[in-house]
């Protein structure tokens, strides 16, 4: 899994409208009218075939340092990879590697490279480029986020050329789903002196206007052909407009200035669906998940009562049962979400444990459970065995309407079982400071987005020793028996190449999370997108990028 911190940031970005930019993006009042008009005018000028918006300026164009959504999008469109995970079928599709063979029980993969592929400068793509790409990726001085997946504590990954058209990648121990690790590893030219250099993707960066737009032009040397033998990509250029304001983005879509929108908010989706039903697309549940957790860290500056409540499994389960997930989906997400039973979304068909069901909404059962754990209701207030009224604060990030609504609904639901919740919205840096450093909070409502499908994506969160273990970060040793069991199962599945065994282990992990409720999983939002009728060939995927994952095949007739 990518850094938890990054996911949190993405979570915020995705649902709040660009993370620390949320204050800007949410406040259309702060954008001077003249500026808006200028942006719109700029949008009208130019003549790109396909246009859509990035929701922030890419922090970098170096394909190995991409760590934000916009940089990821540019990398996706401009760089070639050895194996691509198909966003619809979820199969590993051959790209620059036309075939591969997994050896040594999943510890080694031999990739046979496609011949005749050339870089835009005319140089042939060979195994030397692959080796060079991995050397750069794994350079410790670079701190490439994608490199984390290739680092193990058992030794270094060995990359060796097997002639000009084959490469072997060998890990010190078997790796589950080894062929799925190459989706984000861009292939660069050996000897490239500067980054980014034009890559092997369908498009090349032709022009960049910081804060305004990035123009991509068709890569004339692109190797891929359509099923009828015609060259790809089908559009000559793509203009990516930097547009942080999602309302303005929708306005421009309605005016026909952009053709695609990824990650629409439920409100904007409903608005669009009312006006242009054909343009609004709900692609079903994403792998994203919204959840809340209680701070169980012994290092947290919490009072004794709250520390005891949060450590009580009965308390956590009762809170989980008292939250009406169906209402959260229906009201906060306007029906474009599904109740969560655990961290894995039903859209992740291979790893989702269908035997684990979301807790039924039952305040009566929650109260009984609390009473059996020593709590009692007194004049509508829940009190613990010492008579202390149960009250806690729930922090979440400011600027995300859906999350603020969820917090208000949770507050009302828990009031029914006598628990007083103080909802506190914080700016994102303050929130991160509290949940990762000072640990000065009681409960937190947040979400993760763009989660990979494989269970190893959860290692960084579920292992008790992980610094991103949300409810009790960086435990020296598992503090509970069930955490020890999760550790054992997660390590076992990561070391195995047997999918059936891995599934069994990960199913059990999902059951433990459901039984112990260290994290109260709430819902999985749907992938909501907008597709102009002008754009042909768009197949919206619940996985990112939702709309332009096969950009080379999209067409804008008459452009």
């Amino acid at each position: 899994m990518k850094q938890f911190f990054y996911l949190l940031k993405l979570a915020h970005n995705g649902l709040a409208g660009r993370g620390h930019f949320a204050q800007v993006s949410q406040s259309f009042d702060a954008a001077p009218g003249g500026l808006c008009a200028l942006l719109l005018f700029a949008g009208l000028a130019g003549g790109a075939d396909l246009r859509f918006a990035l929701h922030g300026e890419p922090k970098t164009l170096d394909p190995y340092l991409a760590a934000d959504e916009s940089a990821d999008a540019v990398r996706y469109l401009t760089e070639g990879v050895l194996i691509r995970i198909n966003r619809l079928t979820r199969q590993a599709d051959p790209e620059l590697a036309e075939s591969w063979k997994i050896e040594k029980g999943g510890a080694r993969i031999v990739l046979r490279l496609r011949t005749g592929v050339k870089f835009p400068n005319g140089a042939a793509f060979t195994s030397a480029d692959v080796v060079e790409s991995f050397h750069r990726l794994l350079d410790p001085a670079l701190h490439a986020p994608v490199a984390d997946s290739f680092k193990t504590d058992k030794g270094a990954v060995q990359i060796q050329a097997q002639g000009p058209a084959a490469v072997s990648v060998e890990f010190p121990a078997p790796v589950a789903g080894i062929e799925r690790m190459f989706d984000e590893v861009a292939m660069i030219r050996a000897g490239a002196t500067q980054q980014p250099e034009p890559g092997l993707g369908p498009f090349l960066i032709a022009e960049r206007k910081p804060g305004v737009s990035i123009l991509l032009k068709r890569n004339p040397m692109y190797w891929k052909r359509d099923s009828d033998g015609s060259p790809l990509p089908k559009v000559d250029d793509i203009r990516l407009d930097i547009e942080e304001n999602r309302d303005l983005e929708l306005l421009r879509f309605r005016r026909g200035e952009i053709q695609l929108i990824d990650k629409l908010s439920p409100e904007l989706y409903e608005k669009l669906a009312a006006d242009s039903p054909g343009a609004a697309v709900d692609a079903g549940p994403t792998t994203d998940v919204e959840f809340l957790w209680f701070n169980q860290s012994k290092r947290a500056p919490l009072g004794a009562p709250s520390r005891e409540w949060f450590a009580s499994t009965a308390f956590r389960q009762a809170v989980s049962e008292a939250i009406n997930r169906a209402d959260l989906c229906r009201v906060a997400y306007r029906g474009h979400a599904s109740a969560a039973s655990g961290p894995v979304s039903p859209s992740n068909k291979l790893w989702f444990n269908s035997a684990v069901k979301p807790p039924a909404f039952d305040p009566g059962l929650a109260i009984k459970r609390l009473e059996s754990a020593g709590f009692h209701l007194s004049s509508g207030t829940l009190r613990d065995s010492r008579g202390q009224a149960v009250e806690f604060s729930l922090i979440t990030n400011a600027g995300s309407k859906t999350r603020e609504r969820m917090a208000a609904m949770i507050q009302a639901d828990l009031a029914r079982i006598g628990i007083k919740v103080n909802v506190v919205t914080l700016d994102f840096p303050s929130l991160i400071e509290r949940i990762t450093r000072t640990l000065d909070y009681e409960a937190c409502l947040l979400g993760l987005v763009d989660i990979g499908e494989d269970p190893k994506e959860w290692m960084n969160v579920l292992l008790s020793s992980a610094s991103n273990h949300p409810w009790n970060p960086a435990e020296k040793s598992p503090e509970t028996a069930w955490e020890a069991e999760i550790d054992r199962l997660m390590l076992a599945q990561a070391a195995s190449a047997d999918t059936r065994e891995r599934k069994k282990d990960f199913d059990r992990v999902q059951e433990i999370l459901r039984e112990q409720a260290p994290v109260i999983y709430l819902l999985h939002p749907n992938a909501l997108a907008a597709v102009s009728p002008r754009a042909k060939g768009v197949k919206v995927s619940p996985f990112l990028p939702h709309t332009f994952w096969d950009a080379e095949r999209l067409r804008i007739p008459g452009s």
């Binding site: 806690f392 909802v423 009681e442």
Partner: protein, 267 residues
Amino acid sequence: MKVVRGCALVFLSLVGMAAIAPEWWTRARYDTQFRDRPDAPPSRAFPLGTDALGRDRWARLWYGTRISLTLAPAAALVSCAAAALAGGGAGWMGGFLDGALQTASDLFLSLPWFFLLLMVRAFLPLNAAPLASIALTFALLGALGWAAPARVVCAAVRRIKTSEFFFQAQAAGCRAARVLWRQLLPNVAPVLWAQFWVAVPAYILAEATLGMLGLGIAEPLPSWGGMLRELEGAPSFRQWWLFAPAVLLAAVVTSLQAILSRKEDSV
């Protein structure tokens, strides 16, 4: 103009009376969620419809009015009291104190108060009750807003100190305390009064700005700022009911300005 001011006064009185105890006359509480009726249009049951969580927007408007109209004047009072002490003291004593006040007020006026507010709010205890949190927010607004009125008060005191009636009082042998009480305070009071009325709408708008960013008053308490967030998606004018808090805010601020213009005239 008298008619306009009279109308403004009547309007503000009506708003004030309506906001004193909305629980007596609104049908629902501000936090009751009718989850089967989210985003409902106006009806007999909900004159301004319901919000995204199915809460009665009409009830929330009046509860929010009570909060905004109670705390904004309180914050204005804090800033005017601080301005009277700092500006009055500096103007009266002159010399080093006067210079120090100018420097301090320059510093305060140049501070990015908005970010300061965000920072201070991040340090507040998380379990503060919503009412305590909003009281603190307005107290901070008040505490940060002393600099501009202090300069005005300081200038007024300096002017009074060089006036003939002031010299006459001193020449007649009046003691300092008597001069302060009988000559200075009555002449500074209108200036302070005007500053108070200028500050009230400014603080209402400041809270609205914080609310627009989701950093205003905590759920489930309503405020004008929080309700104005519903306008973020640029709704069409067919949904006129969403504009009610903006209209009320504008009407109250305009009324305050109309009354203020009379106070300024008198100064």
